[in-house]
């Protein structure tokens, strides 16, 4: 068990900078998820921690020691790959014990560790099988077992659930979380799936274009995103971004979306935004769950408005409604009984207590 520290890590492939100077401190026992779109540098970062890629610049510390020039086998890490990378000619037991056998562990110790890992992962009855006789989920477990028996300082997961079908993915997600609760090994997990990131992580690291956009707990990222990218990346359906202007009114501030439509800013927020009245390029960020059907009683901060729905998507427990505001498609989540129909008008309410205001020029949340 150990902490992992990245100091100004840079990775260049010829002229292309895949990772552009990132700093990250991962505490002992922590489960950190690197998330971002493909090509954002998250996998490269993980592979640099593993020692599978050279570091162009910067330092990586595992357990306080700089490991830049330490080969993968001496970094005391274990990695789970997207395609599992099980040795096809070995049984499950041999796969799991391969690393220990190379390090010449005593037979009894190997036996004990394999049994323990098999118990944790519930794969005891599979130990004698070859990988080709296993289902995707079982292979995934074996790959994790291979990591667990090593009892390493750090677990590295490289998109381990991407090859599984949706149902199994959800199930294995829970398994991974359970395993981490039992073994408590420091974990760095890479995924492009923000739901996976939110559900698994103690802290999520959102990456984009080779830099870290924001680091925080899942709730921090969801409720308090620092950039437009994070605001749009975390959450599904994604946050709405509507071009707007800020207007000072007699009793405070108001967000003007169109000539007809303006939302008064709640007093609790108004103070914070007062300096941006002159800024012409602003975006209102509002999550779909903050645009709902207007009830008879409105909470403070809620503003009713009329919208003509383009498309409705009944999800069962809720219905997603899509409508245009000033040329931008906006998504809201309404009660399935609210009477939303394609092409019909519906009275909606926007809750601005949870609004975000984004400077369109810098992409920063104000």
């Amino acid at each position: 068990m150990a902490e992992v520290n990245l100091r100004r890590i840079v990775k260049k492939y010829d002229e292309v900078e895949a990772v552009r100077g990132i700093d990250l401190d991962i505490a002992d026992h922590e489960f950190v998820v690197l998330v971002g779109p493909s090509g954002c540098g998250k996998s490269t970062t993980l592979r640099m921690i593993a020692g599978l890629e050279d570091i162009t610049d910067g330092e990586i510390l595992i357990g306080g020691d700089v490991v830049n020039d330490v080969p993968p086998k001496d970094r005391d890490i274990a990695m789970v790959f997207q395609n599992y990378a099980l040795y096809p000619h070995m049984t499950v037991e041999q796969n799991m014990s391969f690393g220990l056998r190379l390090k010449r562990f005593p037979k009894a110790e190997i036996r004990k560790r394999v049994d323990e890992a098999a118990r944790i992962l519930d794969i005891k009855e599979l130990l004698a099988r070859k990988p080709r006789q296993l289902s995707g989920g079982q292979r995934q477990r074996v790959a994790m077992g291979r990591a667990i028996v090593r009892n390493p300082k750090v677990f590295l997961f490289d998109e381990p659930l991407s090859n599984l079908d949706a149902k199994l993915r959800v199930q294995m997600r829970t398994e991974i979380k359970k395993v981490h609760q039992q073994v408590r090994t420091t974990t760095v997990y890479v995924t492009h799936d923000q739901v996976e990131a939110m559900t698994l992580a103690d802290r999520v690291v959102v990456m984009n274009h080779g830099i870290i956009e924001q680091v925080g707990t899942p709730n921090q990222l969801y409720h308090d995103p620092k950039t437009r990218f994070v605001a749009g990346f975390i959450g599904s359906p994604a946050m709405n971004f509507i071009p707007c202007r800020m207007e000072g009114t007699s009793d405070g501030l108001s967000i003007r979306l169109t000539d007809q439509l303006a939302f008064p800013v709640p007093p609790s927020r108004a103070e914070h935004y007062r300096g941006h009245v002159q800024n012409g390029k602003l975006l209102l960020g509002l999550r779909p769950e903050h645009i709902t059907e207007a009830g008879s009683h409105l909470e403070p901060g809620e503003t009713p408005f009329e919208a003509r729905l383009d498309v409705t998507e009944p999800m069962g427990m809720e219905t997603l409604v899509y409508f245009p505001i000033n040329g931008t498609q906006v998504c809201g989540r309404v009660n399935p009984n609210a009477g939303a129909r394609d092409g019909a008008a519906l009275r909606l309410a926007a809750n601005l207590n949870n609004m975000h205001l984004i400077d369109d020029a810098t992409g920063k949340v104000i």
Binding site: F98, G99, K103
Partner: protein, 304 residues
């Protein structure tokens, strides 16, 4: 227009009986069988003729009887060859050369292929192509320069290389190593990269990754390469003809020709018997490892 209508109506009428897919398949199968039988006859006729001739006496061979039938079968040719010291020497030389060449080839080409396909170093791709190009140079171009080299070697060290059966151990790998390396590169390339990365993290050295992961996983390719190396060294004719002359230094293909053809007298019965017996070892090996061989070749073909 009218014609098209008639044709389509006709097609529609016949459809209920058998679908166009299955009819297509039936015809494809018929043609396949036709050509397969044709090829089988074409390729099996010479060995069958050899077998028939090997069972005849010299008198019957030269007599104007039906060449496709044995009227007085005899095993005299087999007895003669298998009790002749010469033939057994050829056989022994061939066996020794082949076994050694296969071992040397595998010892060189497997690690070479591993290095070229996995340990990305400066010029590895060019080197891999170079290996293949080497294979394309015909041996007929090489034996004269080789003669010259051996002569220079003799002058410098006083060690005679010409007319020694073991010099073939140096010559044959020039043919087998490039091709086997190429096959193995193709095979190793089909192994996912994550597999060696996993081994690397598990603590395996490059050598352990090769011996414990790559060789077992690429076993079909390895067997294909082995069979190829064996076939080439067993059947090689030009080099032993050029570099060995004494009867006790000859290998089978050359030995049969030089010892059983006396001036213009061809001992056809024994030549056929010798060739047939000589073809037996590769045949037996193929029969046992056929499946591996085919798997190995296709993997090399698509992934190389």
């Amino acid at each position: 227009m009218a014609v098209a209508t008639v044709a389509s109506a006709k097609g529609a009428a016949s459809r209920p009986r058998y679908g166009s897919m299955s009819r297509n398949r039936t015809w494809a199968l018929r043609w396949s069988y036709f050509f397969l039988v044709l090829f089988a006859i074409f390729f099996l006729l010479p060995p069958v003729y050899m077998l028939i001739t090997s069972l005849k006496t010299s008198q019957e061979i030269s007599a104007a009887t039906n060449p496709w039938w044995v009227f007085h079968p005899t095993l005299e040719n087999y007895r003669g060859l298998l009790t002749s010291n010469e033939y057994l020497t050829f056989f022994r030389n061939s066996a020794l050369v082949s076994v050694f060449v296969v071992s040397v080839t595998m010892l060189i080409s497997v690690p070479a292929a591993f290095a070229l396909s996995r340990m990305k170093f400066w010029g590895s791709a060019t080197l891999a192509t170079g290996v293949f190009l080497t294979y394309l140079i015909p041996e007929t171009l090489l034996f004269l320069p080789l003669f010259k080299m051996f002569a220079m070697f003799k002058e410098a060290t006083d060690i005679e290389l010409i007319n020694r059966w073991w010099v073939l151990l140096i010559l044959y790998p020039t043919l087998t190593v490039p091709f086997c390396t190429w096959i193995m590169i193709g095979y190793f390339a089909s192994i996912p990269k994550e597999l060696d990365e996993a081994a690397l993290i598990d603590g395996a050295s490059w050598m352990q990754t090769l011996t414990k992961i790559f060789i077992p996983v690429a076993l079909p390719g390895l067997i294909a390469a082995t069979i190829f190396a064996f076939t080439v060294s067993w059947a090689q004719f030009l080099y032993p003809l050029a570099f060995t002359t004494s009867v006790d230094q000859l290998v089978l293909p050359v030995g049969i020709i030089t010892s059983l053809v006396k001036a213009d007298v061809y001992n056809w019965g024994q030549i056929m018997t010798g060739a047939l017996l000589g073809a037996a070892p590769p045949l037996i090996i193929y029969a046992f490892l056929m499946d591996y061989y085919i798997a190995g070749l296709t993997a090399g073909a698509t992934k190389g």
